[in-house]
Amino acid sequence: MRFLFKTSYEQDIRLFRDRVDLFWYVLLALAVVAVPFALDEYYVGETAWVFIYAICGVSLMVLVGYTGLVSLGHAAFLGIGAYAHAYFLGLGLPWVVALGLAVAITTASGVVVGLPALRMTGIYLAIATLAFAVIIQEVFSRWESVTHGFAGMKVDMPTIFGVAFDDDRSFYFLCLFFLVVVLWLTRNLLRSPTGRAWIAIRDSEIAAQSMGVHLATYKTMAFAYSAGLMGLAGALFAHKIAYLAPDIFTILLSIQFLLLVIVGGLGSLHGAVFGAIFVALLPPLIAILRDSIPASLADLATATGIDVIGTVGAAIGAFLSKPGVEAGVFGLILVLMILLEPLGMYGRWLKIKLFFSTFPMYKAATFKRQKTYMRSERLR
């Protein structure tokens, strides 16, 4: 067991809690850098999706997990970022300028959505953002001079300052770079007054206000920052997907982002990354299982001579190839997660970590929460 003795305020402020913490993060960094050299090109490409989704996750985590504002329209911000980036690249602007403009435009649209959001909370806000997303999707399909409507828009791999990021490996590192920057910036905000103000708004608006937090300013800031990150993710998304069409940025994608932060664990940046791993890697995992389960079970059937195993394998393969299985599995996992682990994957991670750090004295009750019913709703 390890005890952490605090001897200076810096210990609470700095990014890594102690040397042990730092050691693990360095190890993680080395592993992440080694992945493209160790894995097949296909898997490297899929891992880049994890990074893009993780940026989306951080974006939504700031809004939902830290400020307590629910958005069902984040795919729209992703789309705005993607289309803006592609459009400015099409005009012949340098990559960095196009990216900057895309982020700026998305941030501005976040402010526009954030302003009416000041009067709404909970389900009403979710509906309003949903309406926004529907409108934006309509704009994508109708504003053909910019988006080319359903004809779509081709996006080439980026060339930044003359360096071409034209294969999966180099693009992997580009996405990784932006994810690390986003995590760093967001962590900075969360350990300074702005982040605390967001958390305060989430837990008690009335107390936050009495402590001098201007609710409108900070809610708008959360929306703008969240949208800006989504714009950045959108730009990377555009390159990754290579071809933009309005029907990519649907409500289902927004729901997938929401699923990401809930499964990952609301109120933690770790959760955003865990959730992204889950959301980005589940579809390829299903695809792999679809092919490998029937094949391996067929092998087993010939080896043992029991034909039933082969039949079962074929049935599983056929089931997994049915359309909608992916959505079904997502839904099932979401339901199980909410029932069994409301703190998400991050909560599970904390429990595993505590188990090892306090071994053999782990108590399951450490994470039990008492239900409380004393908050007043009178002043809401």
Partner: protein, 252 residues
Amino acid sequence: MSFFTADKLSINFGGIKAVDGVSFDVAQGEVFTIIGPNGAGKTTIFNLVSRIYEPTGGKLTFDGTDITNIPPHKVAALGIARTFQNIELFEHATLLQNLLLARHTHKKSDFFSELFFTPSVRRMEVEHREAVEKAIDFLDLQQYRDSLIVNLPYGVRKVTELARALCTEPKLLLLDEPSSGLNVEETEDMAFWIRDIKDLLGITVLMVEHDMSLVSAVSDRVMALNYGRPLALGTPAEVQAHPEVIRAYLGG
């Protein structure tokens, strides 16, 4: 010119006059308590002072400034802090984060310096933590510093709210029923702390309270209220002996 004055303060909710022309003034350095039966309008007065409600009439003056029409988030910066009857802490944050949020009016950093966590932000953070530790020491909360509020017992939460209010470095402290839900021992502690806040920190206290032992122990002056109107004003003993007050509480 008094430190804090409420002049003919009124608010109507529909046809109900919740507070009806209440005037009182609080001198610097005193503990002023408002008592009254349930529904007398005590908490409403607090919500008027902290600007959550818009008064229908009257005027509020604090430290020479008219605060009747300032927005609610500016109240803290003027030096008025409050606690809540039903505890409004940030439950899924640690005690330390709760207290640090109270330093919000003292922040000097903007969004972009925080985004990059510049050395000046870091320096400010350390300063805030020093200020917060003083409140933690003052109210003996050391052992709960890193606990989430949801995991703390009720009594500790009540003290945490007091600590959070102190962290804003107020000149006037509004305490809304500081003893509600506390046992006898915790109430005694609360009485000591309120006296210390007044004597050692020199903070003026405006309090709403039901527990008469706490009221008599700490108050310099007491105002009794019923149906939004003041009944009596004076020392705790005077008010308790006032026939109107006895009638309001006991009927008849």
